[in-house]
Symmetry: C2
Subunit: 596 residues, 2 copies
């Protein structure tokens, strides 16, 4: 009996003890963000599956795991002999496990979960799915903590000040802005559970989580005080005394729920139900008026200030230099036949890490050769790694966390001679990237209203891609940051307008299963255009700086405006990057960015 | 004291008698559709205002009327000495009167309205607006019927069979389809309150309402029977015996609520809360399971069948012939300087009425010269009428109801020599009309995802229009027919995909206040394009047939594809229409449709 089988048996015994018939385990942590510390990798401990997104359901007769398409192969391998079945996740809402439970649970059964790991939105959905059955719920049921002997400790990185020359706005000013909006919304308190909201508000960063400079914490903003729930030992004296001046009081992380339960029951609190855990929500006193909406920091930090924008422009230069050096190196060494996807990823991360103010990659670097490129979220592992041959399509999606900005860029290049179909696909994707980047639109426009600009050329040729077109990007924060996005509007964020100062990715693609994938991604900054009698208009400025592989372009498919845009973009790339390149690299980039 | 002041005093006395502090009167009828018979023109009787959309609120101290921008001037004139104040309606949701009531009503007050004239959706909204106050509601409060002495009778047009050669599908087949879907949705009953749903289902038409061939009626579809609530005398014997065979039972219109209240309380019923009145809703027995959704006929009739599509194509020819003859006549007579907007409207209606199977205009014909064109819903009246001069921009939006289809088309033409700005505006609008008409898109695409194609060229030049781009069109039914539309997605109909067989208008525009308006509207039919490994794709086919004024086109703004489209469209227009024209008209159209 391996440890997974043992753990499963142990868990089932605990379930029996607590009269739980069905138990759900998520891959989230109490902050419900994208990246989680190992302390919360319950699924990996229980099943051996190490992918970042999954849900496990256990009953007496069943133990199954749901994950999304990018992890199916990995899960198949890792779940062997774990006692867990891999379930098919076909639905985009990722709530397939709820459908399964609905079909398999019996009247009178009890369903348990640890409410600290589920958003109140998700637990509501669970209740709604099961409303037609007579089910008991225990949403305060942690059956893991007591049984995980070698559990990794909570992360304990140290907080550091995010200097004003980077972030551009004093914490006192941000706090005042938040309080002003709280007043307008009639909220006495504002609970922040997303750690990036807290980092932004208090101008701090940490290192508790991979890929994002975050410090695990909750915050409760009141009229005069801010309670910051975290580990006091994480705060250097200087920062602690700064906080003292602003009446930011540090309290133990574990006491969040307890303190919330002591709030005045006739007061009001603003929370975001999408990232507030059911556990914290249920600790609020009865009778309290709960206002559910996006958090105020989420709306404020989406619009970058002038200092941040200035920094991002500079950061794009150094990030582009690293990419240029990488692609030059790649072209010099590709012929050797000795390179692999994993090696390329390491090399690129290494070049980026030489940059000033660099912290870490902003996500796991994607290097995907040929058929691997057709898997939109492929990430090379030791098992999947393949050699980069002389012929083929290479897709590289990568980004960096810097104190002065966060980057995210995808380039697809051809090794050897691309086929006609490859050139056609690439050019149609490029037309999409440009179509979105070059649009002008009235203030108040939502992302779903302009998404088609990235798809139009593809649609006209019977092509499409199955993901959104663009996500917001944080400033030295999460590389995927809401609330704005550009997509087909299937989700719920339909009310968010694109505003001047927002940064969004622009990443149309084509994936040909078993053959290759093509994606071209730039970050675009929304800026103001003219105002006319018809209102205020906005536009985008492309801020990412890296050449686009001309060998993959079929010029006959581009119109004059597109050709002009590309030539002008390439001139800009060369002008801004060449001062930081060696003579050989310069010559090489000059050729890569010469006019078409 | 005039009759309006008297009526108002009478109504206030009635309110006092019934302890009503605030009373709301709408412009709707019990079917909550767009056009209503005079029997329900309560507001016109009470205030003298004859516009088609308004809401009146009365309290002891206040009597006010809300209407939308198109009627403001008319209301100002008509409300003089009526005792009613004209309120500003600025909000697009048209619920400003609710905001006003919320601000002015006191705790303990009682709000009354006739629930037969408000959708359940609207009464829910009223309750929600006022939830923070302690208000009593009387939603069963008709204070008008007993006091309107000379009230016009209920309309009494006679039903007629909509022949199978027009509608293409037997009523028995439609009924079976509806019952099949009811079963899938778990609905024992299906209540139809929108008269066009009933017309479609039973292949009948009537003449109770202006502009739409409708017969006032409710229908309750059950597993075996259909109860049709209407006036039996409206049914010719032959039709009645046809209905008999299908177990369609005719019952008195007034008994609808009474019969609904006798339904088995453990059964289920499908209703659309947007057009089911609170009165009917409240008559359903307690405990009944109510499924709220679009009606099944609304979804089914939106997708036109092959016979309908064949008929529409033919109807577009005769409709286009009438338009061509009209514009030819106009050009011959414009120089006289004696023409006016009202005269042109009459002439066009007259030419259309000569067509086979013609019933009526499909809405009030819009003839708007110069600055009148800048009012999107302008309709010339004796008071507003102006002469058509030799120079200027003329916008004509019109349509016909035919047994074999419903048309709706807008053309804007120049009299004399258009300015550069007029040509630029026109050409940018044309680029929008074509941009939408020429797109291809994957099955499942929603209207809000492609709306920008009609706006893109305008946006790029700092222009825009404040209304939706396209509405569905009925088949010998309402000219505005849901559930599909093409717009910016502000409304609620976000879940409706555009399907093959749907007919939608394509009508971008530019309105320059005080100067002119330009709108180019065609009906477009959604058809199937190719299927690829990326899924099934759809496209549009433009079905309206009328030349587009080349004198307003700035060719330098069009690309080759757009020029090709226009030339090919014009060739098609000429080919299809010329057989029905006189020699002079032919020559004239040949020139109007010659290549650019």
């Amino acid at each position: 009996m391996n440890s997974f089988i043992e753990n499963l048996a142990l868990l089932r015994a605990k379930m029996k003890e607590n009269n739980i018939n069905f138990y759900i385990i998520p891959s989230t942590d109490p902050h419900l963000g994208e990246y989680t510390p190992e302390h919360w990798h319950l699924i990996s401990w229980l099943t051996g599956f190490t992918g970042s997104a999954a849900t496990v359901v256990i009953s007496e007769a069943f133990a199954g795991l749901w994950t999304d398409s990018r992890y199916l192969i990995q899960a198949q391998n890792q779940l062997k002999n774990s006692g867990f079945v891999l379930m098919n996740a076909v639905n985009s809402e990722k709530k397939d496990y709820l459908r399964w439970i609905t079909d398999n649970i019996n009247n009178g059964d009890k369903l348990g979960l640890d409410g600290n790991l589920f958003s109140i939105e998700t637990t509501r959905l669970i209740v709604k799915f099961l409303e037609k059955k007579d089910i008991l719920f225990d949403f305060n049921c942690d059956l893991i903590s007591g049984n995980w002997a070698a559990r990794p400790p909570m992360p304990n990185s140290v907080a550091f000040d995010h200097a004003i020359r980077f972030c551009g706005k004093e914490r006192a000013v941000k706090i005042a802005e938040v309080r002003h909006q709280m007043q307008n919304m009639g909220a006495d308190f504002h609970l922040l559970t997303a750690t990036d909201d807290i980092m932004w508000l208090l101008n701090i960063r940490g290192n508790d989580v991979k890929y994002s400079p975050l410090l695990l914490s909750f915050a409760l903003v009141g009229e005069d005080q801010i309670l910051l729930f975290t580990d006091e030992s994480k705060f250097p004296l200087k920062l602690a005394s700064e906080f003292d001046k602003l009446d930011v009081v540090i309290l133990p992380y574990e006491e969040t729920g307890g303190i919330l339960s002591t709030l005045f029951s006739h007061s009001s609190i603003l929370i975001n139900p999408a990232n507030t855990s059911a556990g914290l929500y249920n600790s609020l006193p009865e009778g309290m008026k709960i206002i559910e909406d996006l958090t105020i920091p989420a709306r404020l930090k989406a619009v970058k200030n002038k200092t941040e924008i200035g920094n991002i422009r500079k950061t794009m230069v150094k990030d582009g230099v690293a990419l240029t050096k990488f692609f030059y190196w790649l072209e010099q060494n590709a012929a050797s036949g000795s390179l692999s996807e994993v090696m390329l990823g390491k090399k690129l991360d290494e070049l980026r890490s030489l940059n000033e103010n660099y912290l870490s990659p902003s996500f796991s670097t994607i290097v995907a050769f040929n058929e691997h490129g057709a898997l939109p979220h492929y990430s090379a592992t030791a098992e999947s790694d393949i050699r980069i041959g002389n012929e083929g399509i290479l897709l590289i999606d990568s980004g960096g966390q810097y104190l002065d900005g966060t980057t995210d860029i995808t380039r697809t290049i051809a090794l050897g001679f691309p086929t006609r179909q490859q050139k056609r696909d690439f050019t149609l994707v490029l037309k999409g990237t440009l179509g979105l980047a070059c649009t002008k639109f009235p203030a108040g426009t939502k992302g779903y209203q302009i998404d088609i600009l990235a798809r139009k050329a593809l649609w006209e040729n019977g092509l499409n891609y199955g993901h959104g077109t663009g996500h917001g990007v944080g400033f030295c924060l999460n590389v995927h940051e809401g609330p704005q996005n550009i997509g087909q509007g299937h989700g719920g964020d339909l009310k968010i307008s694109i505003e001047s100062g927002m940064i969004i990715s622009d990443e149309p693609a084509v994936y040909r299963e078993g053959e290759y994938g093509i994606r071209i991604e730039n970050l675009i900054l929304c800026t103001e255009d003219k105002e006319s009698e018809f209102g205020k208009f906005l536009r985008f400025e492309t801020v990412s700086l890296c050449y686009i592989d001309k060998s993959l372009i079929d010029i006959s498919l581009l119109d004059k405006k597109e050709i002009d845009w590309l030539n002008s973009y390439h001139a800009d790339v060369y002008e801004k990057l060449n001062p930081y390149l060696s003579e050989k690299e310069k010559l090489w980039l000059e050729e890569k960015t010469s006019k078409i």
